[in-house]
């Protein structure tokens, strides 16, 4: 179709999702010198890989139709009261947090806080999260969240292996009373890197040399509380580390692991005000001792100062991460679960220490009364020491009857064994619920009332130490104050609600309201991950649709929704490849070829999957060097496992040789893993499966509209060709059979409650609309590149100087010509009220711009005008009009405090600093701090809330 005909054949939502209007297209094409959008796309995407038929997807639905269809699915999920436990507990999401964080685009459309000057709000919320975790676990330092409890435990194992003395055959001991899904995920990870896992009774185990550490659950999966101090001593005696998987609410009453000698604590913060969501997303946590701070995986928020000496927060110790360390990284985890960590931290801010203690005490008290009533009724309990979870011993016939009676009361109990019933309580359990529960055990409701409960927490394990003592947890008790606190933090951050976020490789497209609305429906949010199948028919339908649609879009046979992030998708995909080779008797195939230009996560994931990384060169144009690929593939032909390749490349180009790349790898017995980070440039135009890939992960939070949440959640499902389908991840608690690849996430389907977003996007765009989005993304990127031509050099391009969906602007020459670093250009863009593009990835000294299809021509022009104006500011330095090291760029960004101060010593006017364009006079997001001194913070690492006086210096700026 031609550009002029766009829209009428599409669903009405398509025009809402796309930025440019039909009337803009002609002008944009004129600038680019193309007659039609078709002609542009033909010139960009190599003909040999073009998809020649329309995607086989249902026709576009309207927003109303999509919402109605999702409502019908939600209604087919039955929201039972959950007493299943297993690390997931229902909770009350405070309305002020649900509406102003979870449902607020000011929070959910922000990106990972790479630009701290315009991210102080969520950085503060994350510092609160770290402080909360640190306080409750009794350990010095906590990270800014991980994907789920299972992967957090696996990361703790990796940390232990890094910190313990190195052994040739390391052993990791896991207590058999850990949650089964945690044991499964840890086992998968351990097996991949050649670590032997022993699942046993840690209290009785004989710890020999070679033990890198052990994992204990406290309280355990059956609810029992035990004193593990002796285990700690014995593990420490062989220089191993003790990790404790734990429950933050229980720790309000129990002596925290850090006080009885544990080295690491992990867990899930879900019950701090985050819906169950059939398994996620939730924010898991990891805390440890100061000694291990440099081995902590994931993101860590730290306190530093800005150039004026004011307190300022930013991500600390970034050099540990995969994008710098590659195969030597501590972990492949890139993202966190920021939105959920923010919610959990706000729950603690709102309730405070007394509130949290009161909630814990109430849950515990009701559990004690339930226990007393059950015992009075003749039932035996597996443990007399518990917090909120009981295991009731009975016989098989009675147990079946109790489960049945509970079901008729719409309560789910855990079938621990045919004769053991697990009952886990939470803050939502009312007196009425308690009576219902007793009814299920054929006891009278009155049995509960007058029993004097016996003590159930051993005296030696009763918490006496304070927690959440920082003023931030003791200041916002009224809803008015809480509302203002949340809004105050939100206002410090630049999200998509204010301006385009042109972050290359991140795809900050529209997160439409109609996609987001179902996320907070109880029919999706109120379901426990291990609820019985018959209660989750709506979710099954959602999964079936989404798996089928994603398979069609990628050209693959099967899709697994289990991986919780792109990095987990990479790991899972490589495990699938490894299992395939093993099943064919080729276990020795462990060499993974990775191009120089690959994202750093690729080599980190390959190492985690037990593979050996061999780097393939890229040519001066940024493409894979085919001659080197051939040579490496031949040299490693006997041991070749896989090639990991990103398409379009990380340089934003559709490489012509991609089909040949795949053929070379296949010829030498390898499998092709396609990194789907740039899938948004392929949808509808070509498909990984058709190009020759065998596995591909998809970032649903990029291509398929799940918002970035300020740095998570994400979802990283993988698609595979038919021959790999038998090796997709399995899960011990799902009906799907166990597979050779094992489980990679705590939940069988990763984070289900955000999958309606991607479902709605595909449903409302339809096959033609999805393709049109890809075409517009390519158009927008090329338009930006063209408009900046002559001002900035664009690195790497394909045919006719065209790029795919993102472009790399070279800022390296300015260092010599004006003493201006790429960082200066990025920070100056903040003064223009923009979020800077990706800095120094994939090439140091450059900016990578990805406008996405959702930005309008006006916004693209505003951005290009800003970039051009900044180029002129650089020219002033080049020409000696402005001084090197004392100019608009060097001092950027400019805070309101600075430009309104009585003293002004800069050699340029305040107005140019603060309001460089007319648009900034109308609306502007101010940086709340000046340029941050990263080195100061990394040398003086502080990762908990600093004393309040230091904050006030910053708040004074508001």
């Amino acid at each position: 179709m031609t550009a002029a005909s766009a829209s009428s054949s599409f669903g009405p939502f398509v025009a809402r999702h796309l930025g440019p209007r039909e009337s803009d297209i002609a002008e944009m094409l004129r600038v680019l010198g193309y007659r039609s959008l078709d002609a542009l796309i033909d010139a960009v995407v190599p003909a040999g890989i073009r998809l020649r038929q329309p995607l086989g997807l249902p026709a576009a639905r309207t927003e109303q139709e999509s919402l109605a269809a999702l409502r019908a699915m939600a209604d087919r999920n039955q929201v039972f009261r959950s007493c299943l436990g297993l690390g997931y507990h229902d909770c009350h999401v405070p309305g002020v947090i649900q509406r102003n964080v979870l449902e607020n685009p000011g929070w959910y459309t922000a990106y990972t806080p790479y630009q701290p000057e315009i991210a102080q709000g969520r950085l503060e919320a994350l510092l609160n999260f770290q402080t909360m975790v640190s306080d409750l676990t009794g350990l010095e330092i906590a990270n800014a969240s991980l994907l789920d409890e299972g992967t957090a435990a696996a990361e703790a194992m990796a940390l232990s292996l890094g910190a313990a003395p190195q052994h040739d055959d390391p052993v990791y001991v896991v207590d058999r009373r850990c949650h089964p899904q945690t044991i499964a995920v840890v086992t998968t990870r351990a097996e991949a890197r050649g670590v032997k896992v022993v699942v046993t009774d840690t209290a009785a185990h004989d710890y020999g040399p070679g033990v890198a550490g052990c994992l204990i659950q406290y309280p355990d999966t059956f609810g029992a509380i035990a004193d593990h101090r002796q285990v700690v001593d014995r593990v420490h005696a062989v220089k191993g580390l003790v990790t404790v998987a734990t429950d933050l609410l229980a720790l309000a009453l129990l002596v925290p692991p850090g006080e009885w000698g544990a080295d690491i604590a992990v867990g899930n913060s879900q019950r701090f005000g985050v819906p169950l969501g059939f398994g996620g997303p939730h924010a898991a946590f990891l805390a440890t001792r100061d000694a291990h701070k440099r081995l902590i995986p994931g993101r860590l928020i730290g306190v530093s100062k800005d150039r004026e000496g004011h307190l300022a927060l930013r991500m600390a110790l970034q050099t540990r991460e995969q994008h710098i360390r590659r195969e030597k990284a501590t972990s492949n985890v890139c993202t966190a679960q920021v939105l959920l960590a923010v919610m959990a931290s706000m729950y603690a801010v709102y309730h405070g220490p007394e509130g949290i203690r009161a909630i814990a005490a109430q849950v515990h008290q009701r559990t004690r009364r339930l226990a007393a009533a059950l015992k009075a009724g003749g039932f035996r309990l597996a443990s007399e020491a518990f917090f909120d979870t009981l295991v009731v011993e009975t016989d098989a016939a009675k147990a079946a009857g109790i489960h049945e009676a509970a079901r008729t009361r719409r309560i789910n109990l855990r079938a621990v064994s045919p004769t053991q019933i697990g009952v886990a309580l939470d803050e939502t359990v009312s007196e009425h619920d308690l009576a219902d529960l007793l009814g299920a055990f054929s006891l009278q409701p009155s049995a509960v009332s007058n029993q004097p409960p016996a003590p159930s927490i051993p005296t030696a394990l009763k918490r006496t130490s304070p927690f959440l003592t920082h003023p931030v947890f003791n200041s916002y008790r009224s809803e008015t104050e809480m509302l203002r606190y949340i809004r105050r933090l939100e206002a410090r951050d630049l999200s998509l609600t204010a301006a385009m976020i042109p972050l290359g490789s991140c795809t900050m497209k529209l997160n439409a309201t109609a996609e987001m609305v179902p996320v907070s429906w109880p029919g999706f949010g109120g379901i426990h991950p291990f609820a019985p199948r018959e209660q989750t028919e709506g979710y099954r339908r959602l999964f079936d649709d989404l798996e089928a649609w994603l398979a069609e879009i990628t050209g693959f046979s099967r899709v697994s929704l289990q991986p919780n992030a792109g990095s987990q998708g990479e790991f899972a995909g490589l495990l699938v490849i490894r299992s395939y080779h093993r099943a064919r008797g080729e276990a020795h195939r462990t060499v993974c070829l990775i191009p120089q230009s690959a994202h750093g996560t690729n080599p980190a994931s390959a190492v985690m999957a037990g593979m050996k990384v061999v780097v393939v060169k890229t040519d001066p144009k940024g493409n894979i060097d085919l001659a080197d690929l051939r040579a490496q593939a031949e040299a490693n032909a006997n041991n070749l496992a896989a090639l990991m390749v990103t398409y379009p490349s990380t340089h934003g180009v559709f490489e012509d040789g991609i089909a040949e790349v795949c053929a070379i790898v296949h010829k030498h017995g390898g499998q092709v893993y396609m990194d789907g980070a740039n899938m948004n440039a392929q949808v509808g135009l070509t498909r990984p499966g058709d190009i020759g890939a065998d596995v591909c992960h998809l970032n649903l939070h990029k291509t398929f509209c799940i918002p970035h949440g300020g740095g998570g959640p994400g979802m990283g499902p993988i698609g595979v060709a038919a021959h790999l389908a038998p090796y997709l991840p399995g899960h011990p608690l799902a009906e799907s059979p166990a597979t050779a690849s094992g489980a990679v996430s705590s939940g069988p389907w990763g984070s289900p409650s955000i999958l309606p977003i991607s479902w709605a996007y595909i449903a409302m765009m339809g096959p033609d609309g999805l393709t049109e989005a890809t075409r517009y993304a390519i158009l927008n990127a090329n338009y930006v590149a063209k408009r900046l031509e002559g001002h900035y050099q664009t690195l790497y391009s394909g045919h006719a100087g065209l790029i795919a969906h993102e472009c790399i602007l070279d800022c390296r020459p300015f260092k010599g010509s004006a003493g201006v670093e790429v960082e200066d250009v990025a920070k100056r863009l903040i003064d223009y009220s923009f979020h800077p593009p990706t800095v120094s990835f994939p090439v140091a000294g450059t900016l990578m711009v990805e406008p996405t299809e959702s930005e309008s021509k006006e916004e693209l022009d505003r951005f290009c005008d800003a970039m051009i104006a900044i180029r002129e500011e650089i020219r002033e330095v080049e020409q000696g009009v402005a001084a090197r090291g004392d100019n608009l760029l060097f001092h950027a960004p400019h805070t309101l405090r600075l430009v309104t101060a009585d003293a002004w010593t800069r050699p340029y006017p305040r107005e140019r600093a603060a309001f460089p364009t007319p648009a900034t006079r109308i609306h502007k997001v101010w940086p709340t701090v000046g340029r941050i001194d990263g080195a100061y913070g990394d040398r003086n690492l502080v990762c908990v809330c600093p004393p309040v006086e230091e904050y006030e210096a910053v708040s004074g700026e508001q």
Binding site: R294, Q318, T319, R320, I324, R325, S840, G934, A935, D938, R939
Partner: protein, 129 residues
Amino acid sequence: MANVPDDLRYTADHEYVKTTPEPGVFLIGVTDYAQGELGDVVYLNLPKTGDHFDAHQVFGTIEAVKAVSDLYCPIAGTVVAVNAGLDADPAAVNRAPYDDGWMIRLKADDPASLEGLLTAAAYRTQIGA
């Protein structure tokens, strides 16, 4: 312009070897050029006294705000001391790479192996100084 003292020996990986009054014992660190390229150094992961390294073996890592690099042992030998001051003051590597910024004292297996390293002139040529 990076400072390349004449009386030191160098590696292509930007480590230097400095003689001490004690025969066969040398100070090892990274060059002024290297610290300039790395930027603000924030952390050093250094070996323990008594550790032995072969030539070209990694003996530690150096972390700056934006980059992390391995440190390669220029010659084979045993670590006889580690600069504990760098723990609290990693910036010494930026401030005084050849003095307070030294990293390890190494007792060489074979003091003559020093001759295989770059001279100041050769190192200057390599970095284009």
